[in-house]
Amino acid sequence: MTIASLSTDQSPPISFPFSFFALAPLFLVLATVMLALGEGNPFAETRTHAMLAATHCITLGFMTSVMFGAMQQILPVLVGSRMPAGRLVARLSLLTLLVGVLALCAGFILEQPTLLKLAWPLLGISFLIFISASLVSLARATARNDTWAALLLSLISLALTVTLGVLQARGYATGATLPYLELATAHIKFSLGGWVLLLIVGVSYQVVPMFQLTPSYPKWLTAVLAPALFAVLLSSAVLLLMEPYPHWIAVVTECLFWLLAASYATVTLKLQQQRRRRVPDATLSFFRLGMIALLLAALFSLIALFCPTTETYLRTLSVLVFLIGFALSAANGMLYKIIPFLIWFHLFRGGMKAGVPNMKQIIPEAWMWWHYRLQLGTLLAAICAPFWIVAAWAVMLGVLLQGLLLTTAVFTAIAVYRKNVRRIILAQA
């Protein structure tokens, strides 16, 4: 994507994050196609081919695109260090991610090992480039705070997720004998519990007080939470290698993980209650919904530990609520805050004297509220989807409409930026 830039200083050009933001929602549309291609109810269990393809469209396609784009802007703002070779990193990681995800999802849905053989090296390259650049940026950071630590642990989790994923994809493609169940379990733990949760936790420490005008997160939480979550994930992954092991150890580590996650959600909700400007804000509501969904995901997983008869249903529900309720809500809330802010910031730096639009005029607030209601409806449908086919179709429709809404929002913001760039250039001529 080519977007004219007004500034040449140290912040990355606006086209870097926006290329990722423009691509991300299309993966939500693709996820719906994957689910619709599945047989029966694709939400009845998490390991059907359709569900695997759709999950990777959302995690690898949507979430990773949003996070790749956001990290390029977040690192300079939150820890004072930009990514090295920004243009090269953005272009290479975007291209290899796009083709890699498409090949992986097509490989799952069509059951074609050839496509998996194409997917794993491309995804490996994409993540290698992105993780290396992010780690260099973190190593150069001037602010070594709790956000820095959470982002670092999130990137390490991502590296472990990718390694485990590549091992499995390569194994399936070549027919190698591997402990697939254990690898898949560790892969899911590090991707959702590590990469996704730790990244949202680290970004929240700064973004929630900054944009939602809440008190800061308590020090006792920020100092301990991310290292403790990572330690618990690592312990549970090591346990998988040491089978057989006493069942109670697995129960204790899983309880610990969800209690830590729930403490983060509870503290965030409490901070939002104490915000200084008590005006309705769609992005805050997205974040709040995400926290409630995280508590629900924790509840379903904890009940599953003690109810073996309904364990499969509850675990499927936990994954669905975590992905569609927590991760998607947090990503939407972050995008609706970060996109207008970036557009405004880049215009302001380039055309302060020519005047810039108000941040609230870039994406209409009413639009965000419609999306929020749609997100809430999709989450409610997701809770019923594993055992009610009508709800399963409602989730598919909800995810599809969310992808289309977000695509329109991103391109509306880009149009506002381009229009104002032309106006500022004319005013300065």
Binding site: P76, F211, R276, R277, F348
Partner: protein, 70 residues
């Protein structure tokens, strides 16, 4: 000259600081009290010909002294 931009949502702290700088006399110092370290502001200050010094305060906020670079 002093401004307090604590507890303002983005981008208001940034706008208030830039507006205050436009009226800052040549030899004067702008003292800014802010609730977080404003990394993006530094690029803009550098590019606009200002020098600054930042101090972390005990309550977790920051004090920034901004002057015209010589």
């Amino acid at each position: 000259m002093e401004i307090d931009v604590r507890d303002l949502p983005p981008p208001e702290p940034f706008i208030n600081i830039m507006q205050a700088l436009q009226t800052l006399p040549a030899e004067a110092t702008l003292q800014v009290r802010i609730h977080r370290e404003p990394f993006p502001l530094y690029d803009v200050l550098r590019g606009s010909g200002y020098a600054w010094q930042i101090s972390a305060l005990a309550d977790g906020s920051f004090q920034i002294a901004i002057i015209h670079a010589r």
